[in-house]
Structure formats: structure tokens, C-alpha cells
Symmetry: C2
Amino acid sequence: MTAHGNAPEGVPDDVRTRILDAAERLFYERGIQAVGMDELRTAAGVSLKRLYGTFPAKHDLVEAYLRRRDARWRADLAAYVDAATEAGGAVAAPADRLLAVFDWLGSWFAAQDFRGCAFINAYGELGATSEGVARVTRDHKQALRAYLADLARPSNHPDPAALASQLALLVDGAITAAAISGEPASAHTARTARTAAAALIGAIATTPNI
Amino acid sequence: MTAHGNAPEGVPDDVRTRILDAAERLFYERGIQAVGMDELRTAAGVSLKRLYGTFPAKHDLVEAYLRRRDARWRADLAAYVDAATEAGGAVAAPADRLLAVFDWLGSWFAAQDFRGCAFINAYGELGATSEGVARVTRDHKQALRAYLADLARPSNHPDPAALASQLALLVDGAITAAAISGEPASAHTARTARTAAAALIGAIATTPNI
DNA sequence: TAGTCTAGAGAACGAACGTTCTCCACGGAA
DNA sequence: TTCCGTGGAGAACGTTCGTTCTCTAGACTA
């Protein structure tokens, strides 16, 4: 069957999704400025007219790519944390839920297409020139900090927000270090971050301690 | 006096320095791909012929910019740590020298031209395409980790290299967070990282057995 | 002074980019 | 069948970039 099903009007969602899928794969893998609209059209399998009809300019597509990735990234993280800590049926310790964040990072770092934080990369590339990219990046990091604070709040830590900020530094540092150091060292990086996080949380006893 | 003093041969150092100064200012402030060779020539005050005679291609200039910045950045950091911890004349505690690193970060974040880590930015922009940029970035982060390990070694920490890796994550995370969050929050970011570092340095060090 | 070399200023070139426009094939309505 | 609107394929446009080439002014040598 062809892809032009029963589109309600304007741009069918299918086209938008296909464009964003191609954009995410190419932008994340090679950088935003290294991917031209023509190559993107080919990868998405749409015409230039449809491409520009869906996203009037490249920076609109860039921001949409980052916004969608932000939502999916945080949803994946939250799903992993929930799945990892609801096994017993009983409510898990807040420390375990916080540490699960770093387990998820470890599995992400091991993915073959891992290339660091899409937002940090985009910020390094366009943050100085594009206010939109800078804003999306700020929002993403702020949302991550808020999520960590939500995880930390049920604990008996005296300052959950401060703990969340500290852990957020570890998360960003680990993502960056894993991206730069490359494949073999990235698993070790995740464990290093997890150990440090455990120390900050105060759950040194539960640290695997390799 | 003119700039063509007693050059031994080829390109006088003055020209090379002027080019690198302009490149560092522009590349760091606006990104590498956002600065053209023509604008760079104007900023450096040299002719295109001299520019290409000194650096045969843009990527040579990019790598030279990163290499020089790496050397100066780490020298500045080491000088600050030495100056901050040699006041008494007696040898300072290793923990204080490690924490001085984060004090230096705080002063750096407050600089008006602070725009994050030049290497992380360059890696996000060109790391996927340029092996040279990726290598310089790896070397820079590796050298930072080695320096932190040197600072940690005199302590009674059971694993100075592991502590150095943990602190390196905090350093990278703090630089990134400070760059993204912008001016007002960056001072707070440095203090957050310093607090976390103190916990990591002290927590495990006071653990009786490992 | 005549000749030669160097280097500056910037024009020029080829490629690539983001974006728009042209042409044509196709499908539904009358 | 004829008309019309939609959309695909890709040519075209204007700009920008990295890099090279041309022209010329000046300094040094014999």
C-alpha cells in the first residue's frame, strides 16, 4: 500500500514523521550543518515541496527534531526507571530509582549509534547563532533536572533539589565523556558516574563497586 | 615598528600568533563553521596569502587553535591551583588542591566571554566529520583526567585514578551546564559542582576499609 | 637605475548550501 | 473527454564558503 492514506488535510502525519525520523538520524549522526536539505529529502523520501511545506525553513526542522527527541528521550528514561524499580510490586527506594538513571545511561552508551547528547552537540554547533536551539537545549536540561528532583524528593535527603543538580552534572559529564572517549571506555564511564552518584546520594553500601 | 622584524625564515611567529588569537576569539565566540576565512583574515590583519601560507587549510588552523587553547587552559588551571594552595608555604592538603579546581571553574564561568568548553563545542560541531578535532578533544579530556589524578595521588584515597575520573565528570558537567544555563546560574553551578566534589573526595576517603 | 623578489589587496573560481520555481504526470469532477 | 488542482522530480537562483590567482607596489641587489 502506498503512503498517502486518508490524510485529513494539509500535511499528513506520516510525512511529518518520516521527515523527522530522517532528520533525527542524520542530524544526530553527522551534525546539523553537515546535512543538507537535499540529502534530507532523499533520506525522507519526500519531495522538496512537501519538505518545505511541512517545515518552512531548516531551523524549524531543527527545533522540531530537538523537541521531539527531548520528549522521547525523557519518556524512555522514565519508562526504564519505572520498569527497573517496580519489579517487587512494593515501592522502590528513591536511591535505587536515582541509580537506575545511570544504568539507563550505560545501556544508551552501548548503543551503536550513540554519539553523545544531541542537545549539547546542537548547542555547540548553533547555540551561539540560534536562539531557538539555545532555548530548546536549556529546556531539555531544565526538564532533566526537574525529573531528577522528582526522583530525589521522596528520599530523606536534606536538599533534594541540590542533589538533583549535582546528579545532573554527573549525567551531563558522563554523556560527554562517553561520547568523546569512544566505544570501549563508555561502559566504564557509566559505572564511574553511577559510583559517584551513589556516593552523593549516600547509598555507598549498595554500590556494586567493581 | 612594523611586523616584519628579524624573521628567521618563512612565517614569523608574530603572524602565527595574531592568526591564532583571532581564530580563538572568533571560533570560540561564534562557532567554527560560522566564521569564514575571509572574516578571519580581516580580524587577524593579515593577507589571505599569508593566512594560507601559515595554515594550508582551515582544518589545520582549527586543530592549531584547539591545541594552543588546550595547553593554555591547562596551564592556567595548574597555575591557579598552585597559587591557591601554596599560600602558607607548607604543602597544602590534596583535597584543597582538588577543590581549587572548582574555584577556578567558578571564576572562569563568570568571565564575560565564557561560552562553555571549546573542545566539547568543537566536537559537537565537527567531531563526527573531522578525526583531527575528535583526537584533540580526546587528548584534552585525557590530559585533564591525568592532571586530576596527579592532584589526587598524594591523598590517602584508595583509588586516585577513579576519583579523578569522577571529578572529571563533574568538571565537564559543570562547564556544560554553566554554558547552557547562561550567566546568572553559572556561579551557582560552580558551587554545586564544588560541593559534590567535596562529598566525593571526603566520602570515600573517610570510608574505613576498601 | 634596472631587475627581481616578496607580499598585500582583493578578484575569481568551483562547490555547496538553503530556498524557490518550472515542468509535467496523474486523479477526480463535470 | 476536458478541465483543474495537487504533488513529485529536479532545475535554477542567489548566496556563501574555502581556496587559488592576478595584479601591483615596494624593497633589496648589482
